[in-house]
Amino acid sequence: MKSLLVFGCMVVLCVSGASAQMVDRATYLKEFQQRVKYLETVYDTSQSVGFYQIAARYKLNSNIRQADSMFVEALRVPTNDMFWMFPVIGAYIHGKDKMSPETKAVVRNAWKTYAPYRGDTENHWAMYYSSLFLAAEQWPNLPGSEWYNGKSSDENRKEAREYLFDWARITTTIGQGEFDSPDYFAEYAISTILLAQFAQDPQVKQLGSMMSEYIFADFAAEHLDGQYLGGFSRIYQPAVYKPLMSTASGFAWLYFGTGERTSSGWIMVPALSGYELPEIIYQIALDRSKTYIQKERKRVRNVIRYGNEKNPPVYKYTYVTKDYGMGSLMGGILQPIQQHTWGVRYTYGRPYTTIFGLHPYWSGMELGMFFPEEVKTLIADVVASKGTYNNPNKWTSASPFERTFQHKNTLIALYDIAPGTTAEHINGLFPRNLEERIIDPSGWIVCKAGDTYVGWYPLQEYEWKEELETPANALNDGGRPQLERVKETGIWRLRSYKLQNGYVVEVRSKDEIGSFERFHAALKKSVPKGTMKPGAVSVDYTTIGGEKMHFRFPEERKLNGKVVDLSKTKLFEGPYLHAEVGSQKLTMTYKNKKRVLDFKTLTVTE
């Protein structure tokens, strides 16, 4: 679906292998400008009619007449709702002093006659209101009859402003709703960068700048080699198992210099805007000289029924090294459809740089928690646009029957699945390009992915299925075959049909434990003890680091005999980011640098 959402979106992936090294500010800015220049050139020379092609021409003052005619053509039949709004206002702002009066009139008329959908979720509202705010500033003092929604410029500006400040307040108080989404990072970054660069209202401009930093910092602390480290609120297939296909990885390339070069349309708005990332965020994103734990608190997207709380908390735990990161959400239904509860991602073996597991769950009740339509028909409605939702082989899912417990680089996942549930099995994804995938008699599955070693101990019997990723069996989220760009394809699917289930995952790097053989030997000495009965699913496990973990489904977590209380998790808690719940303040630190975003006073201090 996302591929349809950006008019004129172009994607070119080029393979590059090496991880990026951190560079000084002058070099960074030089290389950043080179990346911007590359994007500008791609779109300036593209003859396709699209808003980014138009914006590039205006920005570069190149072939304005062609840009004008393209703009008129692109606006002939407006569509795409809030996804239409931001590129249109972006292109207009770049070109308003250069375009012909006739073109200007066509653009103005589009905002009078085309009524876009405001959407039903946080990313929609961010795009809608940031674009509407900018448009209302561009055309002030117009009566309601000159706007699609019947509201005057002043009314639109005020409503958008109010929403944007409210969104920032909630986000910096109890966390972002569509948090840490490799595929929806773009929607937020575009919205906030547009405000930061083009809002005339100094407070909104400052808000845009600060929120841009907020979400980039959030990404940076969980970034590795162009990848966002999970869990995630929302991610699409196939990006969930080919991490660099996510739009956030495009931003990582543009702003961190990591991942793979791309000309994705999603990064064109920021590239053309002139927005530059503060150095400290770049440094947080790149410096992996020390291993660290990042804890975060987010919020569930608005629960409109079948729940007791509108925005329950989400607890995220991520262990980050220079070779790999393992991250998890605590489990349960935290977001509909596209949740990625936990995963290991590493620097080896692009594009398949991840191992993870899940319970592929779907239900009308889950959807009814978040969408107002009738629960008995919601599944069919969702499948119409997200074809993998009710597929038992899907790779994204939230499940009420899944919980996790992570401590450092050890994770336990437990499942107590009700009979009759869709689906009655769990899945694990292991890329085919692993250097080793040893089925050890001890029960451990021992994997080697370059300098990252992963051990997976299934607590119930299971089977393997080799799945070659061909156009015939690799479904994208539209439910249609996904043509693959990379020949080295496929995965091993672990499947277990036991309803009471679980596994233990241990991850170590060469730096952490030495050789793969040593890791293998250590695992063989650490065999989990599980109880797998309905209503009594638990495991006791001593990690290969010697720490005792006890986990009983759903919420009993003990570490070395002490109860783990997730409710004390702060908004951000790690070596680089710190934010207390309710504080509306984010403190970034890197070595001797400190940068504080205070949303109560709308100030940035260093």
Partner: protein, 349 residues
């Protein structure tokens, strides 16, 4: 001369209305309709809210069949009105002053010029509006049922106030303004039927606690008689204005009831739209039900309207199967329009 179609034959409307003038007038009064033009010249308007089309996705290029459609010939033909874009129109209703209100994903829309121009009357805080209900005698008072509770305007949509006091969980699928006392409002929630005796300022449970309520209807001939459609609990009826309730599901094999419609001339004739079972009809005021789905190709009926000027003409809006029409009181159904669309709401004025 306006005409109505009955049993495939067309009759001049004026003759039919004259013949039934007294009962028509009674029905008008009972259902809260207010005539603003000569009775003999009046032809009702049907408002159809098309929420979605199977082929449509947010941002998709094909977007031909969503939004508001209006018919002035008892559903024989339809004209699209207002925004053509996908803004998720759940329901549309016209007030006695001619103002048209639409419940949409974008908020509550208002048109005071018969659908030529529209204004979103609500702000960013009002979203996922499922129903909008206009006070019959005070058309400047409007209620909105939303996924986030009830909002109310007393100034024709200029300002809105949230009215959720008393709700545990505020998801409200439907509202009913009591014709006998417009301060009394019933709300269909996921936790039962709620009632307010002061225009929404305070709510309390009226019955069916814990049950998911989908729709509330008031008998055209007896304001104390209320019927509700539920999620998996069939039909429940109250004979005492919502104080007590009893289930009435004899013959009803599909117990998720999305919508209820009653014949304004013969309130004992009640129609239900169900999940999975299409349309049911009762000829004894809801005591027993008979499935009436011959010709319905889609069994999920979410909207129903009895056409007052031709009460054997029934419209049934389905979820993903478009609109069906019956001209024989539901005995048989013919596909009407909106292929593969979700016809979420129907109303008549």
């Amino acid at each position: 001369m306006m005409k109505v179609k009955k049993n495939s034959q067309e009759f001049p409307l004026i003759l039919r209305v004259e013949k039934r003038m007294s009962s028509w007038l009674v029905a008008v009064l009972l259902t809260g309709l207010v005539l603003s033009e000569p009775l003999v010249a009046r032809q009702e308007t049907v408002y159809m809210a098309v929420l979605n089309s199977r082929k449509h996705r947010i941002g998709a290029l094909d977007n031909p069949t969503v939004g508001l459609f209006v018919s002035t010939d008892a559903g024989a033909s339809w004209q699209h009105k207002g925004w053509t874009g996908y803004i998720r129109t759940f329901y549309t209703e016209a007030g006695s002053n001619g103002t048209i209100w639409s419940a949409c994903g974008n908020g509550v829309l208002r048109s005071t010029d018969n659908g030529k121009t529209w204004r979103i009357t609500t702000g960013g805080d009002v979203t996922e509006v499922l129903k909008v209900k206009v006070s019959p005698s005070s058309p400047k008072t409007v209620y909105a049922a939303t996924a986030y509770g009830v909002f109310k305007s007393t100034d024709h949509g200029t300002t809105w106030q949230q009215r959720n006091k008393g709700f545990g969980k505020p998801f409200v699928a439907d509202l009913l303004i009591d014709r006998s006392n417009e301060k009394r409002v019933f709300a269909a929630t996921e936790e039962g039927v709620f009632v307010s005796s002061n225009g929404g300022d305070q709510w309390r449970v009226a019955g069916l606690k814990g049950k998911g309520i989908r729709f509330i209807a008031q008998d055209p001939g007896n304001t104390a008689r209320l019927l509700v459609g539920t999620e998996e609990d069939g039909i429940n009826i109250s004979e005492d204005g919502g104080k007590t309730w009893y289930p009435s599901n004899t013959g009803l094999r599909h117990l998720t009831v999305y919508v209820i419609a009653m014949d304004p001339w013969a309130p004992a004739k009640v129609y239900l739209g169900t999940h999975g079972g299409g349309v049911y009809r009762s000829d004894d005021g809801g005591k027993s039900w008979t499935q009436k789905s011959e010709g319905l190709q889609n069994p999920d009926v979410h909207a129903l309207s009895v056409i007052p000027s031709s009460s054997n003409t029934i419209l049934a809006g389905t979820l993903n199967g478009g609109l069906y029409r019956s001209v024989d009181g539901g005995e048989t159904w013919q596909f009407n329009s909106q292929e593969e669309a979700q016809v979420w709401g129907l109303s008549v004025r």
